[in-house]
Amino acid sequence: MVVFEQSLFLVGSNLTPVSQRIGEFVNFLTKWQPLTKTKGVVVSEKPKVSGKDYSDAQQNFQNLFLKKNWGDGLFMAMPSKDRVDWVLTGTDRNRDEPVVGNGKITPKGGILTMEVLATNLAMAGGRPEYLPVLEAYFKQNTGESSTSSGSCHGLIVNGPIAKQIRMARKFGLLGPDPNHPANGAIGRAIRLVFMNVGGCVAGLGTIAQFGEARHVGIVIAEDEDNLPKGWDPFNTEYYGVIKGTNTVTVINPSSIRSFTHRGNGDEPSPAIEAIEGLRRGANTFKQVSYRTAPPSMVAMNAFMLYSSFTCGVLADIFQTKKFVKDTLASFCFAPIDEFQDATEFLRLLESQKKSTKDFPARTQLIPNPQQSIMLICAGGDHPSRGMCIPASRATKTVEITLPKSWDDLLAQAVKDLGPLPEEY
């Protein structure tokens, strides 16, 4: 690879360096040789640490792993045999089995077996009952983009497992919460896998400019117990899964944005208050793309998170999710003077032999609200706020497989952490 400064790749750049370094292109095509000369599996060695006591060994482990780029900068738990074996009680699968297919996680291509997955979950401070969620996640996502956009990872859990393993579904949904530790550990383990196994380390295997929310990603569970009557859970609505099935849906968030849903409190009626709340929500995820003419938000799906309290109010006024989504979509429009001078749009018009006169004064951006807007019931029971995950998409949903010892694992969790927390 011939590497140049970023400035070479910008509009109007000076291309002299390309001419000056043509010899490197020739060299890579005629002389360069790779380091590896043999095929087959390269087995990773097990690292060793020592210390005058356990605390000392723990610090030595932390230092060693960070030097090897195995970690996220925060303190980790040592992946000792005892700990990893304990985490592996969360599956009935063979520890050496790849999680899915050949197990390779892009871009580096390290092989993710159940043991390697348990190792990373152990390092993240996870418990065995989180392992089935992670297995379901990596069954459908074997790598992530290493581009500058750097979206974080995310998933939505549906089904009773969310409550059983203490996932946050209400206040403090995005953490941290000592009473609902699962979200953070699961999200952290996913990130560790992408870095340790997939090689997505900042500056080495990814050029994510900001790496937003990457420590634990966006790991949420739907507050299914408190959905309004007649509203299906997300996995049933989108994937036709039977209600009450434990599933993981992988999402690819680009960012997360909070918005004020509730107004002043002196609106003429609850309906107007709700409509204006939806307008504020729509403004949060509205994004105009000029890749089509007219502009649209095609492929710019959004997740809208509303608490069960707000969902109840919306259900009282709009009845169905469909009506809520149609109303949200109605607020996503672009007036023509917002885009009529955009270079990309003008080029499209030229290629289609059209002019701006062919377009209405206002263009609706979402042609299919039912597919593009995904309503999730989650967050603290309070009317004030909503949360938007814009420009995201959900891929598919995978059913979670539980080990035979599931009830024992949950019983142990009660011994270790106390009874399930009160929901708030």
Binding site: M1, F9, S13, L15, V18, S19, F25, V26, L29, T30, K31, W32, Q33, P34, T36, K37, T38, K39, V41, V42, S44, E45, K46, P47, K48, V49, S50, G51, K52, D56, A57, N60, F61, L64, K67, K68, N69, W70, M78, P79, S80, K81, V84, K104, I105, K108, G109, G110, I111, L112, V116, T119, A122, L192, N196, V197, G199, G203, L204, G205
Partner: protein
Amino acid sequence: MRKQRSEKKNEGITRREFLKDVGLAVGGATVGYIGILSACSVGTEQPKTATNNVPNTATTPVITPVTTPVTTPPVTKVVEPTNPPAAVDLELFNPAGNQEITQFFAPRLSTLEGKTVAFLACDSVKWQPHRIFPVIMDELKKLYPTIKFLPMDQFPESTTISDDATIKIVAEKKPDAVITGSAG
């Protein structure tokens, strides 16, 4: 207390090295040993001296200091062991997983004279391949007058350049080499 620490050199890699060898092994995990030694030395106790100073007058007797001898126990010289056993010694699991090499890079060409080089772009304008690729072609042509090119508009662009369908198109056109760019 003294500590001795030995550790292997950090084996981190540069981005350039990583990008060249993506998909290949980047060395196995390096086993690093960190041993910590501690030792205490025992010294000899000094004799204790008691004094009582009083001004010297004609009627005041002079009191001379009295030294009380102290028996010194025999000193045993402690030799520090070179590698004393650590209290905690653990083997950990490797979080990076194994890697499998299934395919080598294509062999290099002995010369570019008379060869055909294809150009693939992940985006035809964004990172300036529409300007950079012609410069590369011009310079190569100066060095190898009989070189031939398959320009980027003969292939799909964007993220599809790594798809099987694109690879099939490239293979059908049978270039001797491919240059892809520009990374974003």
